[in-house]
């Protein structure tokens, strides 16, 4: 508080708009060039297996994305939300979880789903239009995809409050203590629900990590439309820590998310993690980003590819060999095959299935509607076409 107006220097100037390189606050453990760097707070030792694991996860996740995109092009999916470029953010976050943790995803969390053990084929159902998510959230502690921007952030907070009541927070037992991770995008940070999530989580000190993939865009709206300061700083105003991590660096994302989750499990409350990344593809397969963004930008971010940098590191340090890559390719091809064949084989639901699961038990009212409709459908089958 020292300039003329009394309100301190212009905050926008101080913080600056979001910088392409993430700014000095960016936590990084692996540079875009594949160089391992250290960080005073979030350093971490990784085993070779872990590093190869991250790489494999990212490669396979990207394959899921490529296959799904192709399936959409071939008319097998209605739409697909691509994650190209966000593999490190998702694998880093996904691998930081323990089985007892719970995930609330958006519609783009294919990499996290992968980490949770959800069959990627199941992800396609929603986009093909045969279901609205067919996995059992309770099985892998991975919630259904959420389309309405931000809604799941409140669910995550409430779920975390439930954990508190179950006594699985801060007991010190690593197999017991649990946390929730709430995924959302930079655009979502503007929704009332997301900010209310921050408020409730802070108020109850709920064990939840707010994991925001700032991929710089909300469809055509740039991050600057949502926040004029780095997004992670939003958390400060709500009274819990925020940190910006290089979301294209799987090591850093892993380390930061792991620490944030541990904080939550230990009963120290919520943390905001901004994974600074870039949506290299279109918003979805129906979007045309050339209408609103420069190809230069994309070129710049290609140099930061999350997979390439880890590959450089692994090769340079002799942690992978040709056999590794051959195996991985075979595995990816098999996954691709599984998705292609599996997708085409996904059965359409029966028209009458809409009456199931509206309620625990169908109401008389709805049963009447169903029966009338069934009889109507039957009349076609018996009489042939109605007209």
């Amino acid at each position: 508080m020292s300039d003329a107006s009394g309100f301190g220097p212009d905050l926008v100037e101080v913080f600056g708009p979001s910088q392409q390189d993430g700014g000095p606050e960016l936590v990084q453990l692996l540079t875009p060039e594949g160089e391992r760097v250290h960080h005073p707070d979030f350093d971490h030792d990784f085993t070779a297996d872990q590093l190869r694991g991250f790489h494999r996860d990212m490669v396979l996740t990207r394959r899921i994305d490529t296959e799904a995109t192709a399936l959409q092009r071939h008319g097998e999916l209605g739409i697909w939300a691509q994650l190209l470029g966000q593999e490190a953010a998702q694998i880093g976050a996904g691998r930081a979880l323990r089985p007892q943790d719970y995930v609330f995803p958006t519609y783009r969390e294919h990499g996290v789903a992968w980490c949770r053990g959800v069959d990627p084929l199941q992800l396609l159902g929603l986009f093909r239009g045969v279901d609205q998510g067919s996995w059992d959230p309770a099985e892998n502690n991975f919630g259904l995809y959420t389309i309405v921007i931000g809604a799941q952030v409140l669910h995550a907070t409430g779920y975390a409050m439930g954990m508190q009541r179950d006594g699985v927070v801060g007991t010190g037992d690593p197999d017991r203590d649990a946390a929730v991770i709430a995924h959302f995008g930079d655009g979502a940070s503007s929704q009332g629900d997301v900010n209310e999530g921050f408020i409730f989580a802070a108020s109850y000190n709920a064990p939840v990590v707010f994991f925001c993939q700032n991929n710089q865009w909300a469809i055509s709206e740039p991050i600057e439309r949502q926040s004029r300061i780095p997004l992670y700083q939003r958390a400060l105003g709500f009274g819990f820590p925020g940190v910006r991590v290089d979301g294209n660096d799987v090591l850093a994302t892993y380390a930061v998310t792991k620490a944030a989750l541990q904080r939550a499990r230990d009963g120290q409350g919520p943390t905001f993690v901004e994974a600074y990344t870039y949506r290299m593809g279109a918003h979805t397969t129906t979007d045309d980003p050339t209408r609103y963004r420069l190809s230069d930008d994309l070129e710049h971010w290609k140099l930061k590819d999350p997979i390439a940098r880890l590959e450089v590191y692994l090769r340079r340090n002799g942690l992978v060999d040709d056999a590794y890559f051959a195996d991985l390719k075979a595995e990816a091809d098999e996954l691709g095959h599984h998705l292609r064949e599996g997708c085409k084989a996904l059965p359409d639901p029966s028209p009458l299935s809409v009456f199931d699961h509206v309620y625990t038990e169908i109401t008389d009212e709805l049963a009447g509607q169903r029966d009338t409709y069934a009889a109507y459908l039957e009349s076609f089958e018996t009489e042939g076409a109605h007209r």
């Binding site: 609205q132 309770a138 439930g162 629900d193 408020i199 625990t360």
Partner: protein, 327 residues
Amino acid sequence: MSTTKVTLAKALNMGLRKAMEDDPKVLIMGEDVGKLGGVFRITDGLQKDFGEDRVIDSPLAESGIVGTAVGMALRGYRPVVEIQFDGFVYPAYDQIVCQVAKMRFRSQGKSRLPMVIRIPYGGGIGAVEHHSESPEAQFAHTPGLKVVTCSNPVDGYWMIQQAIAHDDPVIFLEPKRQYHADKADLDESATPDPLFASRLVRQGSDATVLAYGPTVKTALKAAEAASGEGTSLEVIDLRTLSPLDMAPVYDSVRRTGRCVVVHEAHVNLGLGAEIAARVTEECFYSLEAPVLRVGGFDTPYPPSRIEEEWLPDLDRLLDAVDRSLQF
């Protein structure tokens, strides 16, 4: 069989307490539900006895309350949310119609969402704007939600417990004007009627009057007045607004040939519209007059000094009955 005399407010409080005793997963959430016991004192004493973890005072944000309740329900709890007044449910509307209503359907039955959203509703208490709304039609129009309303203390006691024990999300509408209006004999050892059932509350032969929540009393008074003039009105308390329990209504209308629906909500696209459509379809050849509707006018809720004129009352209801009889 020992009975106690209780108001609706007291009965709801007792019902909530009973539900919390019966099932440790039952939680209460909302603004001012703790020490204050809610602005209507419906949760009076519960935080003291069940603790702050089960009776949860919330920040001032309805979407936040309902949204976090969704999360708690997914974790296995049975949250009972209090919305302070009808007019303040709308910030939570998105969570209710897009999330609460659809969770079971979209998960193909894998996720259940047992959760009750209590809403004091309706007018007649001399309040300022946004404190006297009747939002039932909007929820009843939304598949996946169930919508019920009590009209008297005994129903209040049982229905709130049944709603909490029910595995689907229930919008539980409480006629706030009745909270302290009358006392009734409550026998806690009785066997209650099912939750999703309407109830014949007065037999009659000339016309059927359908009411629910705050208008049941009006309907009964009207029937009393009409009987003095030789008109015999049958009165049904709908109790459940979604699903509707129409069989008893059709039975009645087939006998009386005439039907009037009365609610406080706006007439246009109110419950009366749906009921009129269904009754006409089912009882077409029995109807001697179209189903008539009496309700709040199609204007915003008025300043309280004229709310009694705006709200459907005994006279307006009888006027509709007359019109029906003269058809």
